[in-house]
């Protein structure tokens, strides 16, 4: 009955100290604020939120690229920070947003994809060649494209290379941080389809980060909406899209521009104040931008209200 857990995050917090300059006081930025969740094996948790909400910090914590200030993260039952780098690389891999910046411009595609295998130091040349070729074909790149440089490929093809590199060690978990944000909508659909297909075929678990709710709907089994370091709503995907509860989730949904002429550009009602992780408001952290905020929202911390498969943090929902 119980699916084994692939990613478990318990009470994780991450703060950064930002130097205040010559005379200013140092400030503390709370990027991730006491978050707990688990992703079952084969599941896909979509994490959605705006720039600065801490979603990339969360990705880096799970990848073991950052140490949490508090709390613990385990992947496949092992503490991320206790694993050595090679073991971690075999288990969990990233795909980043910008395929222009994340590929070595001077290396040929097949050498880029071979690098994780070479770094392990346990694979022979022939085996590496075979695995690279298999992986390139798997992501839809030709053998000939393997001999090219990143600059000779389109954005979508480069993102396929980044995916091939992430999967060549056959990891169990892939952390995708805005994997399609730099791409055209037509190419975005190709990459989302590829990621969905690979997950099914290889039994992968994804943490899938995006600023666009519409993008995660296709790939995610569950969606968490992140605001200033916290998950303000988390629900199974169908439930979240059918009945979004948190006003922030509703605003994110309203800001997706669907191809329906005549509707105009919606006023999502968030105002012009941008969230500042160095200055988290008291009470409900969303209240300064919330279109339905009441006076008590500025004072009381919203409790976690459980829902089937998740929950919501808002004072104003039942």
């Amino acid at each position: 009955m119980n699916t084994p857990v692939a990613i478990e995050v318990r009470g994780v917090r991450k703060t950064f100290r930002v130097k205040g300059g010559l005379f200013g006081a140092d400030r503390h930025v709370v990027a991730v604020d006491d978050i707990s969740f688990a992703v079952p094996q084969g599941g896909v948790l979509g994490v959605v939120g705006e720039s600065g909400c801490g979603k990339s910090t969360l990705a880096r914590l799970i990848l073991g690229l950052l140490a949490p200030s508090a709390g613990e993260i385990t992947v496949e039952g092992q503490r991320v920070l206790a694993m050595d780098r090679k073991a971690r690389a075999r288990l969990i891999q990233p795909v980043f947003q910008d395929p222009f910046a994340s590929l070595n411009p001077l290396a040929r595609i097949r050498d880029i994809v071979a690098m994780p295998l070479i770094a392990q130091g346990t694979f022979g040349r022939a085996e590496i060649g075979r695995k690279v070729e298999e992986m390139l074909e798997r992501v839809g790149l030709s053998r000939e494209q393997g001999t090219r440089l990143p600059s000779e490929l389109s954005g979508g093809q480069r993102q396929r290379v980044a995916i091939a590199r992430a999967l060549v060690l056959r990891p169990r978990i892939v952390v995708c941080d805005e994997p399609t944000s730099a791409l055209d909508v037509s190419v975005q659909a190709q990459i989302l389809n590829l990621l969905a297909e690979l997950r099914k075929d290889l039994g992968l678990t994804y943490l899938f980060i995006s600023h666009n709710l519409a993008v995660v709907e296709h790939v995610a089994s569950d969606v968490a909406v992140m605001y200033l370091g916290r998950f303000v709503e988390r629900q199974p995907t169908e439930a979240l899209f059918a009945h979004p509860e948190h006003p922030y989730t509703k605003a994110l949904l309203a800001s997706v521009l669907t191809p329906e002429p005549g509707l105009g550009v919606p006023d999502v009602g968030l105002g012009d104040i941008l969230p500042d992780p160095a200055n988290i408001p008291p009470g409900c952290r969303f209240h300064p931008r919330c279109p339905i905020a009441e006076p008590r929202c500025a004072v009381e911390t919203p409790p976690f209200k459980p829902r089937p498969g998740g929950g919501v943090e808002c004072l104003l929902v039942p």
């Binding site: 659909a189 190709q190 969905a196 709907e217 191809p259 006023d267 999502v268």
Partner: protein, 320 residues
């Protein structure tokens, strides 16, 4: 309404040894007081079209057109000096990435006032006042403070607002916006597009908006020109295009836009396989044929222009 910008048979080529035809006979008209969207994937010639209107193409690019007129005046033979007088003054442009198009070494205020001092010979104080007014107009609070700041001190959304305000300094009649919201969060994208739509209406601007996202087009455009491999393959009033898209490329682009709540989770998303081809001069037939579900042998040579209505045209052998 009158024709603000008229383009007929625009062609742009790059390179000598193996030339690329980036724009191949594009024609469209931007009326004053309307938002005209150029839509298509990366590499289909949208940005090159915009740059060729402004005469900002890289050296070595060759531009030809049967007609290229702004307010009835021919842009083709204008000297660099005459073009400089128009650029930033009567026609202005906003680029995709505000961080790279703002100078990091100058304050917002000095960059904004430069254009006005140069074109209108206004003194610094008056220019600063106008800059502050426009920053307020584009929804920036504390404009006085922002004028003294550098671009790196602003968020992406604020930088894009600064770009818009800067483009409006000389009260242009034509504003060209090249993917102005692609680098932004969806929430900020909605705010910026609302702002552009409001300014366009209130100032009676002709707005040429370039995007790859038909979701944006549907919400903001008066007319749409769909570009593919350097050609306008379909052109229509927005409502007509979305009610009855004719070209297989337009239909494909439309299937790619994810609509929340309407996604079949066990089915693949609609996508267009492959990428925009690089085409040389003298290419024959339909450039989309290798990616098209309906292509047959005739597509290699014939691409007739069809009319689906008085103002709805498309380039495809398939009649409606």
């Amino acid at each position: 309404m009158s024709a603000l910008l008229e383009i007929e048979g625009l062609q742009v080529e790059f390179g000598r040894q193996s030339p690329t035809a980036a724009v191949r006979g594009a024609s469209f008209v931007v009326e004053s007081g309307e938002t005209h969207c150029l839509v298509g994937e990366s590499g289909c010639g949208k940005s090159v079209t915009a740059l060729s209107i402004m005469n900002l193409l890289a050296r070595g690019a060759r531009r030809r057109a049967d007609k290229l007129a702004f307010k009835g005046g021919d842009l083709r033979g204008l000297s660099d000096a005459a073009m400089s007088r128009l650029r930033g003054n009567e026609m202005a442009m906003i680029f995709q990435e505000p961080m790279t198009s703002l100078n990091p070494a100058y304050t917002v205020g000095s960059q904004m006032t430069e254009v006005l001092r140069r074109h209108k010979h206004v003194n610094q104080r008056a220019a600063t006042d106008r800059a502050a007014d426009l920053l307020a107009r584009v929804g920036i609070t504390a404009p006085g403070l922002r004028l003294g700041q550098f671009p790196h001190q602003l968020s992406g959304g604020l930088r894009q607002r600064v770009m818009i305000a800067m483009a409006l300094m000389c009260e242009p009649q034509l504003l060209i916006a090249d993917e102005p919201t692609t680098a932004l969060d969806v929430t900020v994208q909605a705010q910026i597009l609302r702002l552009l739509a409001t300014l366009q209406r209130d100032l009676g601007l002709g707005l040429l908006l370039i995007t790859h996202d038909l979701g944006i087009v549907a919400r903001i455009a008066t007319r749409v020109s769909v570009m593919y491999a350097g050609e306008v393959v379909e052109s229509a009033a927005t409502a007509d295009l979305f009610a009855a898209p004719k070209h297989p490329y337009t239909q494909g682009l439309l299937r790619c836009v994810p609509v929340p709540g309407k996604i079949q989770r066990d089915q693949p998303l609609g996508s267009i396989p492959g990428t925009v081809p690089r085409i040389g001069p003298g290419f024959e037939g339909c450039a989309f044929r290798d990616r098209c579900d309906f292509a047959d042998a005739t597509c290699a040579h014939t691409v007739p222009l069809h009319n689906a209505g008085p103002t709805h045209n498309f380039l495809c052998r398939l009649p409606a």
